[in-house]
């Protein structure tokens, strides 16, 4: 079994790895790149705990092969905070107690960021449908929806304050 | 003399009695005397037994004193999630 050599970008950093052709992106991230933020909750794309972005598109990394991300830009929860500063979504999740056990949290954050990147002012319904691919068994989603809503409003306020449209990606 | 009410599955081990008279000042003494009288209770002691004194359930505090006018229930041990 020969491995596939892959050159890619993860959270802005150039990365190279060799993996068997059948290995999932999730296993590559966790076992080869030590990025354990993405979790395997089901391995079948049903729970969203392994959510990452590939070229800005939200995917379940358990359904993507490592070999597929050649030349792509991969984004994981580890890339959300900038230096010492948490992303607004991250700080709002803490502030609103939007996590209990926390296993689904990385997936929710990646999915919520993907939502806010394309819709900076989502309604409650839009938030709920955007996050419907991510399972949480602890919270009943109540505080998650509130945290995402609060983050959207905060980002809008920040953008207004800095006198320009939100550039946050 | 305490009147000890016996609940549910435990009655089997005390020959079907719903209540028993026992002289005891603590849970430990109560359980020791019951065990002397009803050796079959040992199976339940191993896996778990609880004593309710005036409505408060004790699972492991065997040193707990029992007031002589207390309402005493012998209960099976519970599990939770």
């Amino acid at each position: 079994m020969s491995g596939v050599h892959v050159s890619t970008t993860v959270n802005g950093d150039a990365v190279e790895f060799v993996c068997p052709p059948g290995e999932t992106l999730l296993d590559v991230l966790r076992n080869r790149l030590n990025l354990i933020g993405a979790k395997e909750g089901c391995g079948t794309g049903d729970c969203g705990a392994c959510s990452v972005t590939v070229d800005g598109r939200l995917v379940c990394s358990c359904l993507v092969l490592g070999a597929e991300v050649e030349g792509a830009k991969v984004g994981t929860v580890e890339g959300m905070a900038e230096g010492g500063e948490l992303h607004t979504l991250q700080s709002k999740f803490i502030e609103h107690a939007a996590l209990q056990c926390g296993i689904c949290t990385p997936g929710f954050l990646v999915a919520a960021k993907a939502l806010l990147d394309r819709n900076s002012d989502p309604s409650e319904e839009e938030i709920r449908y955007a996050l419907a691919g991510n399972l949480c068994r602890c919270t009943g989603y109540d505080k998650i929806v509130r945290a995402v809503d609060a983050a959207a409003k905060q980002l809008a306020t920040d953008a207004t304050k800095s006198g320009k449209k939100s550039k946050r990606r | 003399m305490l009147e000890v009410n016996v609940s549910g599955v435990l009655r089997d081990a005390v020959n079907g009695a719903a209540s028993l008279q026992v002289e005891a000042a603590t849970i430990r003494e109560l359980l020791r005397k019951l065990l002397e009288r009803y050796p079959r209770l040992n199976d339940h002691m191993e896996t778990g037994i609880a004593v309710a004194i005036d409505g408060v359930i004790y699972r492991d505090t065997w040193s707990e004193p029992i007031p002589q006018d207390a309402e005493v229930f012998l209960l099976p041990r519970l599990e939770g999630g």
């Binding site: 395997e40 391995g43 803490i94 009943g140 | 939770g80 999630g81």
Partner: protein, 755 residues
């Protein structure tokens, strides 16, 4: 310890920071992906393990040939039950645990572990599994609780004789136990009734559905020492169980609990950890074993499916004069206490002169049941609370008023025996009656329902350390898992007792080598019991702080008081001495006697019972039978809410699980006795777009058994939703569903039948 015997009297003090909502201390780790869960540990030279599972619901295992698998390059160990000899010394309960981890000559359910391999990678391990040849003789099976009780049903455990019946049976049966609770004269009660309602109910099996599958990393050396990293609700209990099953010494097995990705009772039992340890021992290498989602469904503890008969009699003035129940709960292939727990909780919400509940714990060819949040109470409550609505309707009474009239109160003799102290069922019902939700307008095809629920809560063995840093920060070390924010609650408690800011406390969960035994985080005991131990450990610290202040001042310790987080010298003679803060005293600790620490070990008995009442609005689509929850309110007694955010979170999460149970979730078994939906696609738990915001109202009726009045809050709110939704569906669609889940096909069938 006698000298520092804790004062457990409820103080009803004015709190400074208890009840505030600071950010949780592990928040940053959990939003950045740094927090390490069961599958997130790696060891040098680790092997990957996989388990071979029975495809049959019930079979005799004639032979297991592992030779070819063992010869495969890269395979380092293969184990079967022969590598896990019976060391239980006649303890049948422990043997059941062992047999559930690895079949011993018979497979008792689809998914039962038969053999396991450890190899250099997952690919090799997968290949090795295929090389293991197991010869089965398939036996007749039974998966339905009522079928299993029939005379002709295949016997699952030939050694079982029903307990709790007289005379003791001579023949084996699938009924492991009969248990009975209640009081009064049930016949006379029904004879006095003006109305009687009798109904039968069924609930299907559901899974806790934690998002994190079981995972562990085991390492055992030839010297008999070992380490286990594992996702668990109780690493001390796992240690004791694993050590006993493997013949290891307790102190030589160090168990470290990872962060836990949900448990809800499902991580109170060992399922595969002894197997990982056995593989590691055989290979002399670290072994990582992780369940797939399919394995989680097939082979780790769901809750019982049930079949329940309810009979309630009431007089015209609205008083219940007799209530009886027969409950049949299956516990999978091993005896459990689930029916008994159901029977104990059945009538717990009500003040009844004559009540009775009889339970049967039944074996079927399904995975061994585990606790699931207030285990067994939701099913009984579904049956009772649905019937209560029917009785109220028959009497022409409002269902809330009817419940208020019959609610248990302080002094009521509980249906399971003891007399209640101060309890919250009445207040939750009054809160429901006055809640704005009750007046919210309803649209077409919409209906409102409500229901009540009860759970015991427990305390148990607890051990806690507090160590004061030289800079005046405080390290709080606990042994109960943080399943949903308890580090924040416990830090609040330590800060409150010591009079320091919350931010100066850091709460850690210790491994089994670093702290005395702690029971599981189960029975809603985490914040209750570790909170109690934290209070006493902090008071222990205050004692030391007073001594050190006395040393610094060179005065008698009796002249030092601890007030508002600082040492104060009492008396005019010492009026020149300015108070010393904890940080002041800590700074000088090296020369006043060394490290400052406090400790407490306790059995935290005295947990108060807990009640909740829920209101729910649903809309039922008459075309499809699909039900949507459009408004939901939880009212629950918390005793005292330490960190209200995480109390609300427990209420909301429990309600959401109950909603899933009520509307969607069920184990579906085929004729072949195999589970047909072992995945999140076909076993559908509620998603974000299925639910509305879940409103909460926290009531605080102090528990006299806790210094702050705390009651456990984690479980009770999963109890009312099944019936609350059933009652709402009935009011929305004009059909009553006696079978949970109320899935669209069942509702549609009921609607069509009513036409």
């Amino acid at each position: 310890m006698a000298e520092t015997a804790p004062d457990t009297s409820f103080t009803n003090q004015d709190f400074k920071i208890i009840g505030t909502r600071p950010p949780r201390p592990d928040g940053v780790d959990k939003v950045t992906g740094r927090a390490k869960y069961g599958a997130d540990a790696f060891a040098a030279g680790q092997l990957t393990a996989l388990i071979l599972r029975s495809p049959h619901a019930h079979a005799k295992i004639l032979s297991i040939d592992t030779k070819r698998a063992e010869k495969l390059k890269g395979v380092k160990a293969v184990v079967t039950c022969e590598d896990l000899p019976d060391l239980t010394g006649g303890n049948r309960g422990m043997l059941d645990i062992l047999e559930n981890c690895m079949a011993r000559g018979r497979a008792l359910y689809d998914g039962h572990a038969v053999a396991a391999v450890a190899a250099i990678d997952a690919e090799t391990a997968k290949k090795a599994l295929k090389l293991i040849k197991v010869k089965y003789e398939v036996l007749p099976h039974v998966t339905d609780v009522d079928e299993a009780m029939k005379k002709k049903a295949p016997i699952i455990q030939p050694h079982i004789r029903t307990t709790g019946v007289d005379p003791k049976p001579k023949k084996a049966s699938n009924v492991a136990a009969r248990s009975q609770f209640g009081h009064g004269d049930i016949e006379a009660g029904f004879a006095a009734a003006d109305v009687i309602v009798e109904e039968s109910y069924k609930t299907e099996q559901t899974h806790q559905g934690y998002i994190e599958p079981h995972a562990c990393l085991a390492s055992v050396g030839p010297d008999g020492q070992g380490e286990l990293w594992v996702t668990t609700q109780g690493h001390f209990v796992f240690r004791n169980t694993c050590a006993a099953l493997l013949g290891m010494e307790v102190a030589k097995l160090k168990v470290t609990s990872s962060e836990i990705g949900g448990g809800f009772g499902g991580k109170t039992h060992v399922w595969m950890e002894p197997v990982a340890l056995a593989l590691s021992r055989k290979a002399n290498r670290p072994v990582k074993l992780t369940m797939s989602r399919e394995e989680v469904f097939r082979a780790s503890g769901p809750t019982s499916s049930t079949s329940i008969d309810i009979k309630i009699g009431a007089t015209r003035d609205g008083r219940i004069c007799a209530a009886s129940a027969e409950l049949r709960y299956q516990g999978g292939a091993f005896p459990g206490i689930w029916g008994m727990l159901g029977a104990m909780t059945t009538w717990a919400c009500y003040d009844l002169e004559n009540c009775q509940s009889v339970a049967f714990d039944v074996l079927v060819n399904r995975p061994k049941s585990a606790a699931y949040r207030a285990p067994s109470a939701p099913m009984a409550a579904f049956a009772v609370e649905s019937t209560i609505d029917l009785v109220a309707a028959k009497l022409g009474m409002d269902p809330v008023d009817f419940r208020i009239l019959n609610a248990a109160k302080e002094g009521t003799r509980a249906s399971y025996g003891p007399t209640y102290g101060p309890i919250g069922i009445g207040p939750t019902l009054e809160a429901v009656k006055n809640h704005p939700h009750m007046k919210a307008p309803l649209g077409p095809n919409q209906g409102r329902g409500m229901a009540c629920g009860f759970w015991f809560n427990f305390g148990g063995q607890t051990c806690t350390d507090i160590n004061v840093g030289v800079d005046g920060t405080v390290s709080l070390t606990v042994g109960t898992m943080d399943v949903g924010g308890s580090r924040a609650s416990l830090s609040l408690i330590a800060a409150e007792e010591l009079g320091i800011p919350y931010e100066r406390v850091k709460c850690n969960v210790a491994d089994t080598a670093s702290l005395g035994h702690n029971d599981m985080t189960e029975g809603s005991r985490g914040t209750f019991s570790s909170g109690m131990a934290t209070i006493f450990a902090a008071r222990d610290v205050v004692k030391v702080l007073r001594n050190r202040a006395a040393a610094m001042w060179e005065i008698d310790v009796d002249d030092v008081a601890w007030e508002d987080g600082q040492a104060v010298a009492k008396g005019i003679a010492h009026s020149n001495l300015s108070p010393l803060s904890l940080a002041d005293i800590a700074r000088k600790s090296p020369t006043t006697g060394g490290p400052i620490a406090g400790h407490n070990e306790t059995v935290a008995d005295g947990a108060g019972v807990s009640f909740a009442s829920h209101i729910c609005d649903v809309e039922v689509d008459p075309e499809t039978g699909a039900t949507k929850v459009i408004r939901y309110t939880v009212v629950q007694d918390a005793g005292k809410a330490i960190h209200p955010d995480y109390v609300e979170g427990q209420f909301q999460g429990a309600a959401a699980q109950g909603i899933g149970w009520a509307l969607n979730e069920e184990y579906i078994y085929g004729e072949d006795g195999r589970l047909q939906n072992p995945g999140f696609l076909d076993y559908r738990i509620p998603v974000c777009s299925d639910l509305p915001f879940i409103d909460t109202e926290i009531l605080e009726i102090p528990n006299p058994g806790h210094p702050y009045g705390v009651r456990g809050v984690g479980e009770t709110s999963i109890v009312p939703p099944l019936a609350a939704i059933g009652n709402a569906v009935s009011n929305a669609a004009g059909v009553r569903l006696n079978h949970v889940p109320m899935s669209p096909p069942r509702i549609l069938k009921a609607i069509n039948a009513a036409k």
